[in-house]
């Protein structure tokens, strides 16, 4: 049975250009009011996926429905202007010959002029640009242009808003502020949105659920916590955060023996005794303890203000990372005591 509350449904979509397969069987759903994010390195197919949802590409097989209306399949193609989808483009694509207000009003088809003005003013206020209504795009800063692009896309009240790397043209400090702002605006207007980014921190701070894509395949579709702490594949585990992978052997239902000693916790996969596995170790799982018998050699360190990220060589010659308070300033080559503290053992078959 169709889930009534699912607004966007992508089922088993395949897309290839000439000989290259770009999207290989993508499936996911977004509920009404949810913010989703497609996260992946460049060239993984995430932008293609977004563009075919918008209506700029045809597909080889699969289905896309928006609000239970089939908009895209092998034989169906609803043009973008009929899909009620809004989009914020990477370069904003603002119309240079129109003012901010005219840009925002562009997609409004209300015949009553008063209503149009009310809507435009509402959006100007929402994105905090009431003062700049009469300005032209070239007179605005990058951050302001970005907000105009968002307001313009939101103006016709689209059922679904798509954002293509919306923050990539902004400098870092502005980016952090705007990610939070954009999330607030989307939530306030109860907009269902799908964003594409290669930046995991943007994904974490904006999205309710994240799909990690590699090589045209969505490897995991989950919330930020699970993507980080319970990655389902090795690719996801290494792409998200600074994890290290070390070899281990399962001893019992909840114990793995590895370069960090015997670790106890819940196994992410059911594994029998004696099974060889790859174990994910996050830097915050490795604590610094001068009294620990387990020593590791510092081979690289990067100072990050409140803490230092140490790259360590274990006695087993494997590499792992440790995030340590920056008061503990050790030299390269020094042997320091470490103590692993892991609740969930994230393991992958060898």
């Amino acid at each position: 049975m169709q889930n009534r509350s699912s607004l966007l449904k992508v089922s088993n979509v395949y897309k290839s250009y000439a000989q290259t397969k770009v999207v290989k069987g993508a499936s996911f759903e977004l509920k009404k009011g949810e913010i989703g994010c497609l996260l992946g390195p460049s060239g993984c197919g995430k932008t293609t996926l977004l563009r075919l949802i918008a209506g700029f590409e045809e597909i080889n097989s699969g289905e896309v429905t928006i609000n239970n209306d089939l908009v895209l399949s092998q034989n169906t193609f609803v043009p973008p202007e009929k899909r009620k989808v809004g989009m914020v483009f990477q370069d904003y694509a603002l119309f240079p010959h129109m003012t901010v207000a005219e840009n925002i009003a562009f997609g409004l088809n209300n015949n009553k002029k008063g209503q149009k003005t009310i809507r435009v003013n509402h959006l100007l206020k929402l994105v905090g640009l009431t003062q700049s209504a009469k300005a032209y795009p070239h007179e605005l800063s990058g951050g302001q242009q970005q907000r105009v692009a968002l307001a313009r896309a939101l103006a016709p009240k689209p059922e679904l808003l798509l954002l293509d790397e919306p923050f990539s043209n902004l400098d870092v400090s502005l980016r952090e502020r705007l990610t939070i702002e954009v999330r607030d605006i989307l939530k306030e207007s109860n907009t269902t949105a799908l964003m594409v980014t290669h930046n995991q921190f943007e994904a974490f701070s904006v999205a309710d659920c994240i799909g990690v894509i590699f090589d045209g395949i969505i490897r995991q579709w989950d919330d930020a916590y699970k993507i980080y702490h319970q990655p389902e594949t090795l690719d996801v585990a290494t792409f998200v955060g600074d994890g290290s992978i070390i070899k281990g052997t399962v001893l019992a239902e909840n114990t793995v023996s590895c370069g960090l000693g015997k670790l106890t916790g819940d196994l992410s996969l059911p594994c029998s005794h004696g099974c060889d596995v790859n174990l994910l170790v996050r830097p915050e799982d490795v604590l610094h303890d001068d009294n620990s018998a387990l020593k590791a050699r510092v081979i690289h360190k990067s100072f990050r203000g409140p803490n230092i990220l140490y790259k360590l060589e274990l006695p087993s010659n494997e590499i792992c990372h440790a995030l340590v308070s920056s008061h503990h300033n050790h030299q390269l080559g020094e042997e320091i005591g470490i103590k692993p503290e892991v609740d969930d053992l994230i393991i992958f078959p060898v």
Partner: protein, 541 residues
């Protein structure tokens, strides 16, 4: 400690820019001041008889060519810039080729083919029932079409580049906002491209306004032909100058519009950031329709006229009725070569003046120095002839008074005057090429070279020259070809015996000798293709 004086005195550079901008101003002032000494009889005669007709003809011609080139140029620019259809890659460059045909060449080929005695009407007369049908092809619509076919590439190339630069970003944005593709073209793509389209259009209008050769072939009286006739018919330079002032007024209006839209380009440039490269795919009948449209334009604007030109050449040569052209070719090359070198040198000087003294005054003066392209050749000829004659008379007077020697005309009818006229008319072409190369030499390159221990001379020799080389070569070629094709200036102020190919074409076509005119025209088209090829190569980068 030894400090090098880095910013040398800017005085000499200022002098250069002042000199060359003054050179352009002289003919303009001359033209307008002609109203101070009105030749009442001739002027009144003109007003009473033909003036209104001349102005109406000129306005009709310019307006018609504007509509024609806009229609053809923008649609072709859109199809080849943004759409995918069969043959797109080929047409993208091939549709620029008609630029190689001077309008006067196109004009006489058209008449040769289409006139009463030509093959087309001859064929129609063989059809039963049409034996006595006669089409008048020497009429306004056909002049418009002929000139429009050689000039539409300006609008085509600029609008195409602009449509391509927009990418599909803005169109796609419009579509996600619920606008259909056709509506998006008119509401978004076209307005954003407006500065480029208008810039192309203004070039077209200036060229149309300046056209002398094509309208002469058609016996279509405009202000330019009237200027020529009032000098060589009535022997009245002042009446010619007064007529010229109308043209200057129009030309400056076009320049002004052009400047307004050029200043907007920067803001309308949406090429920054991610560009979407996918195109609108045309399939089935749409693809075929666009393909046919492009084919028809290419056929009538280039393939058929050039084939006809070649056929006539073969005909003339096999009949042994060829014209001896060796002298014309050598004179054309010599004159073009000298002018090209002068234009190039001045371009280099001005480009350096702007680099070294980047003040606002210098920039404005450089702009003024290069506005000569807007002045029609006939106007320029008059605007230069008058001060030259005045100068000669002055010298003659002085030497008679002081030394009792009659010097006669000194600079009148000399090569130097022609070179100055060419310089004024075509400086923009050369300067554009040299200056764009100059702007690629960032000041930091000089700084980097000098921190690596190189002297000013070494920098000039090892950095500037290699980087400018290509721009200078382009400037030389473009100027050479433009001067070779130039007709009215050469016709009106050439020294005795300096007949170029263009002059020969004028002589032959005024006697209706289309077939023999094909001979000199063939060479001009051949060299005319070179700059188009340069342009195409640049376009493909």
């Amino acid at each position: 400690m030894l400090t090098r004086k880095y910013n040398k005195s800017k005085g000499p550079w200022r002098l250069i820019t002042w000199t060359f901008s003054f050179l352009v101003i002289i003919p303009v002032i001359t033209i307008f001041s002609s109203f101070l000494y009105p030749e009442k009889e001739i002027w009144q005669h003109l007003v009473a008889t033909v003036l209104s007709e001349l102005v109406i003809n000129t306005v009709l011609l310019v307006g018609g060519v504007a509509c024609f080139t806009l229609l053809i140029g923008v649609t072709l620019g859109w199809f080849t810039g943004v759409c995918d259809f069969y043959g797109k890659r080929f047409f993208s460059w091939a549709l620029a080729l008609p630029m190689a045909l001077p309008a006067y060449v196109m004009a006489f080929i058209f008449l040769g083919v289409m006139d009463f005695s030509g093959p087309v009407q001859g064929f129609i007369k063989t059809i039963p029932g049409f034996e006595s049908t006669v089409f008048e092809v020497r009429s306004t619509p056909f002049v418009i079409i002929v000139i429009g076919l050689t000039l539409y590439p300006y609008v085509y190339l600029l609008s195409r580049a602009s449509f391509m630069n927009q990418g599909r970003g803005v169109i796609e944005a419009a579509r996600t906002l619920g606008i259909s593709p056709i509506k998006a073209f008119f509401k978004v793509a076209l307005p954003i491209s407006r500065p480029w389209i208008i810039t192309g259009l203004m070039l077209v209008l200036m060229e149309t306004l300046a056209d002398f050769g094509a309208v002469s072939v058609f016996n279509y009286d405009t202000l330019t032909t009237a200027i020529y006739k009032s000098w060589f018919g009535f022997f009245s330079l002042d009446a010619a100058a007064q007529l010229s002032s109308f043209l200057v007024f129009f030309a400056f209006a076009f320049l002004f519009i052009d400047a307004i839209y050029k200043s907007r380009m920067r803001y309308y440039d949406s090429s920054k950031g991610g560009k979407v490269k996918t195109n609108i795919k045309l399939t089935g009948w749409k693809s075929f329709a666009v393909f046919s449209f492009c084919t028809v334009i290419l056929l009538i604007a280039f393939v058929i006229p050039v084939s006809q030109l070649i056929l006539w050449n073969i005909e003339v040569i096999t009949d042994g009725e060829g014209v001896e052209l060796f002298d014309h070719i050598s004179k054309t090359l010599l004159l073009g070569g000298m002018a090209a070198v002068v234009i190039c040198l001045v371009s280099i000087l001005l480009a350096y003046a702007q680099r070294i003294d980047g003040s606002k005054v210098t920039k404005i003066l450089t702009k003024i120095s290069t506005i000569g392209y807007a002045l029609p050749g006939t106007v320029l000829a008059i605007g230069i002839a008058i001060p030259v004659i005045w100068f000669d008379k002055l010298i003659q007077e002085i030497s008679l008074q002081l030394f009792a020697i009659n010097t006669g005309p000194i600079i009148q009818g000399s090569i130097a005057v022609m070179l100055i006229a060419y310089l004024i008319r075509f400086l923009a072409v050369g300067f554009g090429a040299v200056n764009s190369a100059m702007q690629n030499i960032k000041p930091s390159l000089d700084d980097a070279a000098s921190t690596l221990g190189k002297t000013r001379i070494q920098i000039l020799y090892k950095i500037h020259f290699p980087l400018l080389q290509k721009g200078i070569l382009t400037a030389l070629i473009l100027a050479l070809v433009d001067v070779m094709k130039e007709m009215p200036i050469t016709l009106m102020i050439r020294p005795f015996g300096w007949d170029t190919l263009a002059v020969k074409i004028f002589e032959l076509t005024s006697e209706g000798e289309w077939v023999r005119a094909a001979q000199p025209a063939f060479y001009l088209v051949l060299v005319g293709i070179i700059p188009v090829l340069i342009l195409i190569k640049k376009m493909e980068k």
